[in-house]
Symmetry: C2
Subunit: 403 residues, 2 copies
């Protein structure tokens, strides 16, 4: 069986994701597609739009055979660690390929860029240090330095100012670093940019655009043409049983209280909080009745929106630098859902897996897993207010979804 | 000028408090009455019913000349530290007397009991250790041990099973320990026990009874006869401008989230959390949609209700054992309100005060004071939800009340 892995958020699952799964299956001639998917907090530092089980269902209904949880530690990390977590899990699952969507669309430029940056790493770091002193963000500085390094020859290099190219680059870097056997494939993304709004006469929109449309219209009606029917049904059911879709705006009362409850010294112990921003976080939280207003006050040239949101995620969940540093690599394969085909793959390949498969969390007390379980509780508390006793400990109560 | 101090919560101010102030003034022939009053979290480990400025106004309207804040550190501490904070402040304010309400009503039995317990302290501790092994709470064990020590002679001793007698005993102990010049006076409490419900045909009820009546009836109408008109007016105004009266029930969503956000190990770092109760706090928080249900699960023979609530107070405000231990004695006199008479006393006695008077908090960055300021922010956040930007930093914006 040829197994191809994808590293995803499906927040929510839409037609672009469907295209990616289908093309990945086709181009790698895959018998099975394995999705490593983030849980309740995402790489941009946001709470998930809907919970991980709803998103698992969407994925299984649209072509994924196995859905594995990317642990909180990696799902909420900067690109290089996010990639490391995802690639490590796919490698542990004995995948033949990993396939990512990119603006670039072909794999050679990624490999060229990786070699270039490996070779000139010292120069790169020096250029970044120079750039960053002008007050720009780290990703911007990195991109400027990278462009300065590109030689004028016949090789082509990937444009690392594009968000999906960046992620792709980090996947390849991660695969090299862990000396993985897994091989890289990339699928060209169609039409929608990462942050694009939903448009007219199109069936493709970015997940960001879809979420934005739902929050602005306070309705999911306008987005049905951008996703498989099964995904839309998932959102309808979610709306029926939950007070809201996940967002910092909805979680703001709890996030705000949590920030204000801490001293600046304590805030600086949470992962990603650095360089005195804790004072700004505190004063902005005190001055802001909503999240949008808070971000206006905190945002600066120095920090990307995403970086700030990742700090907030870790403050919200109480995830410290110390805990972050205690985790070195994924320690389990958490099964969220499977098709029959996926189950066959698990049975047939069990012995090849280099990490334990966890289908029932009660059987483990792994510290990394405890972090995922707690993230679920906090997500559910924030989403549904006090009347949610039955939604505590959902990781213990929810078996893998079968489809 | 003769100055007499009282240590109070006024939660809310009622006719029993009025009686206490009047009798204290009369019996000590006082020119001025100074109230050292708790801020937004109280000795039973609860959020205040109404804020400290409303309670200050009530006190000034009913006979107090100066209202001084008892810092969070002492206001939320067990009786001996609560007493130490209060007595230290009254001594620093150069008071001649302190006067407390008690079931006992005369001072000699308190002095006798204090001498007895001083003399037989080792025996007492041994008896307590023996008792506590039967699984009862510390206060119960202490009371049993104390009764065993009382000799059969003509001296009278105070009944230390009564809550106000216990507090009174600790005031006297504190005064001895800090070698204070201040002299003790006690006023017999009339009619209502500490926890008594409001009754028929009476103008005296306990503050606990008054709060209970308000929460049960969801109205303040029934309690007007138990308090001065000015106090009742204060409650009416409070109700007009605030979403609710302070209570753990109202604060439960935030308290619950805060408990669940912490690991057991982190919970055990908060002041008063000991002996493995952190696991119980966590599981009960997950299982409880409201505070009453939570307490049912956490309450045991081992811990008094009050003790558990004090833990919750410290978890809510993020107040750790480490911070608790960093404070040795009151470091300032925070002025919440004054009458003209009170102001005269301040001017005339300034030079005698052994601690700095703080009328505007912006002029200080004392760590103990920062704790009070943060407690105000958290109290206001919990009370009024997200729409409360103007209620952040109230300690900076509110000058001492003048009446």
């Amino acid at each position: 069986m040829i197994a191809t892995g994808v590293i995803v958020e499906y927040n929510p699952f839409h037609n672009g994701h469907l295209h990616h799964i289908r093309q990945s299956r086709k181009e790698t001639n895959a018998d099975i597609v394995i999705a490593v998917m983030s849980g309740h907090f995402l790489q941009r530092g946001e709470p998930a739009f809907v919970d991980k089980w709803t998103r698992t269902q969407m994925a299984l209904a649209s072509g994924a055979d196995l859905v594995i949880e990317l642990p909180y530690v990696y799902a909420t990390a900067q690109a290089s660690d996010f990639a490391k977590g995802g690639i490590s899990l796919l490698e542990a699952l004995n995948c033949d390929f990993f396939s990512f969507g990119s603006e670039e669309g072909s794999i050679t430029p990624f490999l060229n860029s990786y070699s270039l940056l490996q070779e000139h790493n010292d120069t790169l770091q020096q250029l970044v240090r120079n750039s960053i002193q002008t007050g720009i963000s780290y990703p911007q500085a990195l991109n400027i330095a990278y462009k300065q390094l590109i030689p004028n020859n016949e090789q082509s290099f990937v444009d690392l100012s594009k968000p999906n190219n960046i992620l792709g680059f980090h996947y390849i870097e991660a695969a090299y670093k862990i000396q993985a056997n897994i091989k890289a494939v990339t699928i060209q993304r169609i039409k929608a940019g990462y942050h694009d709004a939903i448009g007219i006469d199109s069936s493709i929109a970015s997940a960001t655009g879809i979420r934005k449309a739902v929050f602005e219209e306070a309705s999911i009606e306008g987005i049905s043409s951008y996703m498989p029917q099964t995904s839309f049904k998932g959102l309808e059911e979610w709306q029926y049983t939950n007070a809201s879709f996940g967002s910092w705006e909805a979680f703001w009362p709890l996030l705000r209280f949590t920030i204000i409850r801490h001293t600046p010294q304590e805030l600086s112990t949470f992962a990603e909080v650095t360089e005195g921003i804790e004072y700004l976080l505190l004063s902005a939280a005190k001055n802001s009745e909503n999240f949008a207003n808070f971000m206006q006050q905190v945002k600066s040239k120095r920090y990307t929106w995403t970086r700030i949101q990742r700090m907030l995620t870790h403050i919200f969940t109480g995830f410290t630098w110390e805990r972050l540093k205690s985790f070195e690599q994924p320690s389990y394969i958490r099964l969220l859902g499977m098709t029959e085909n996926g189950q066959k793959y698990l049975s047939a390949n069990k012995k090849e897996f280099t990490l334990p498969i966890i289908s029932r969390v009660a059987s483990s007390d792994d510290a990394m897993l405890m972090q995922d379980i707690q993230a679920t509780d906090l997500y559910m508390l924030a989403l549904n207010g006090p009347v949610n006793t039955k939604r505590m400990g959902l990781d213990y109560k929810t078996p893998p979804i079968r489809m």
